[in-house]
């Protein structure tokens, strides 16, 4: 058990799997993106580096939209969930785990069904608009589906528990004596929060932003079901190019750029907080 090679033997099977089915494919898309050709005759590697500026030029609206929708939904989830996580952690009392359980209930409903129910709620004659229209608050031509609002609503809803969880864990870890000490030193309630609790919960906040941000920027199901032609995100493009059109180089180039952009964000995060905190909260 204590021999030198044991840790290697123990981690070898998992690493082989991850290496073969995660790292190799990830590296392979680099070479695929540099190929030219067409779906019928196949593709050959021609070191076509111009694909990156071309793709960036062609799909910059979708790329920008992904980061915009992803950013807005992440921010909304953060603003919505921080107070909730705070209240449960500090004032939840004996029912803490019950509140947490209620908050995490959406996890028990299939992702696709959660989005479908939003289509139900937001549709033109659906629960929300139908009611508002029949009371006369909204005009008959009011609609939400196919608009950015609908996509962001779906993305934000999916983000809520993912955002709440790491923030709650961080808040829960805070030594209550520190907060009390601040109070003893005459910090007001606001000051205790601003100078003690908020800084100490920062790793949880960043973990939440990272988790939710990456998921939502790359998401395409919300845009597919709740959105319309004007709300296409980069995930939708990658999916259609790869699976339907068979244009592998373009899809690979887009994937690479998305991955790179997000890796930069992760790298900055790791520099500031270390990789351990990502593991701890994810």
């Amino acid at each position: 058990m204590k021999s030198r090679i044991t840790p290697y033997l123990q981690s070898a099977p998992a690493m082989l799997w991850l290496g073969l089915f995660f790292i190799v494919p990830l590296v392979a898309i680099v070479s695929i993106s540099l190929m030219t050709g067409n779906p019928i005759d196949g593709y050959t590697l021609t070191w076509n580096f111009s694909i990156f500026p071309d793709v960036l030029d062609q799909y910059s609206p979708q790329l920008g939209r992904s980061f915009l929708y992803g950013g807005i939904s992440t921010l909304l989830a953060l603003v919505a969930m921080y107070p909730v996580a705070y209240w449960i952690a500090f004032h939840g009392g004996r029912r803490k785990s019950l509140f947490l359980f209620l908050l995490l209930l959406p996890f028990l409903v299939s992702f696709i069904i959660r989005i479908l129910t939003w289509q139900f709620i937001l549709s033109d004659e659906g629960i929300l608009l139908g009611t508002l229209k029949s009371i006369g608050i909204l005009g008959d031509d009011a609609h939400i589906l196919s608009t950015p609002t609908a996509v962001i609503t779906g993305l934000t809803y999916d983000a809520l528990p993912w955002m709440a969880l790491p923030i709650y864990v961080a808040l829960e870890k805070i030594d209550r004596d520190l907060v009390e000490a601040a109070g003893d030193l005459y910090a007001s309630g606001y000051q205790q929060f601003r100078r003690v609790i908020l800084p100490l919960s920062a790793p949880g906040v960043y973990a939440g932003i990272l988790l939710v941000g990456i998921t939502n920027v790359g998401d395409y199901l919300s845009a597919q079901i709740l959105g319309g032609p004007s709300t296409t995100m980069i995930g939708n493009i990658i999916q259609t190019q790869y699976v339907q059109n068979g244009d592998y180089p373009v899809a690979s180039a887009l994937s690479m750029m998305l991955m790179l952009a997000l890796l930069v964000c992760v790298f900055v995060y790791a520099r500031v907080f270390g990789t351990r905190t990502i593991q701890e909260y994810s």
Binding site: P106, I113, G235, Q239
Partner: protein, 282 residues
């Protein structure tokens, strides 16, 4: 930064403020109600009389018909079966591969540990659309036919990282001297491992398995790339959106939700009865 307050106006305990007593709790309950709305919609609409065997936004009257005709839509039942199959098998493989790796990572310092950490964190944080696209490129390049096998490979790949994280968290919380004590008492390493360490990390392994299962059965994005003609539950539902969703989809969602709640409650009770204060971390 801010001016010091005089003792008299800030010595009140935080607890008695109207802010944390009324405003914040009301807000928390509003958010919780909001997160439950889609779940309520799903459950309520399983009882709607849908005239064309398709879910409609309009209410046509109460029925329990769809519960008795749960498996009437054959393709859907088949897809659900695929999902369950993939979830069970991929979680078992991922747990078997990930647990030894987690033991090595949590207990031993060895060269290459940092690299393994990096691979695991990248796997957890990589956008799913990129993971799916790169795997599809890999399978196409090696001309591996897409189907249930490729879905399984992909699911194991994303579940291994989850298992490593969850089990690692459990193992690093353990007192290593317990195993050493067993060795001092003459237990051979394998006996010490199976009799001492294994029972202690078993809850961690079990929750890793459950988490893998949940993530696998719910995955849409990665599966949509590598599935070929094989349909899982989320894929079938997404495909049916254009033609209309049979009510059975919401019934299955409701049944999965209810069993999820029951399992969660059971494990909560189980935990209370068993080791207190030793709850599994997520």
């Amino acid at each position: 930064m801010a001016g010091r307050r005089t003792p008299s106006d800030s010595a009140r305990p935080v607890r008695s403020r109207p802010w944390t007593r009324f405003v914040l709790p009301s807000y928390v309950f509003a958010v919780m109600a909001y997160t439950l709305v889609p779940i309520a919609v799903m459950i309520v609409y399983t009882f709607n009389k849908a005239p064309n065997q398709r879910l409609t936004f309009a209410w046509h009257g109460f029925t329990t018909e769809w519960y008795s005709k749960l498996f009437q839509v054959q393709d859907l039942t088949q897809a659900l079966w695929h999902s369950l199959e993939v979830a069970v098998i991929s979680s078992i493989i991922a747990t078997a591969l990930g647990t030894p790796a987690a033991l090595a990572l949590a207990r031993r310092k060895f060269r290459g540990r940092g690299a393994i950490d990096l691979v695991v964190v990248t796997n957890l944080t990589a956008p799913t659309v990129v993971v799916g696209a790169s795997l599809l490129g890999f399978f196409i390049a090696l001309s591996i036919p897409r189907g249930i096998l490729t879905i399984l490979i992909a699911h194991v790949a994303f579940n291994v990282a989850i298992v490593i994280i969850v089990v690692q968290a459990r193992v690093s919380g353990l007192d290593e001297s317990l195993e050493e004590a067993a060795a001092d008492l003459g237990a051979p390493p394998w006996v010490a491992f199976w009799k001492v360490t294994m029972p202690l990390i078993l809850p961690g392994i079990f929750s890793a398995f459950l988490l893998s299962f949940a993530l696998s059965i719910d995955d849409y994005i990665i599966t949509s790339f590598v599935a070929g003609q094989t349909l899982t539950f989320p894929l079938w539902v997404a495909g049916a959106v254009k033609v209309g969703i049979p009510p059975q989809v919401f019934v299955m969602g409701t049944l999965i939700f209810v069993s999820g709640v029951l399992i969660a409650l059971a494990s909560l009770v189980f935990q209370r009865w068993g080791d207190h204060g030793d709850t599994v971390r997520t």
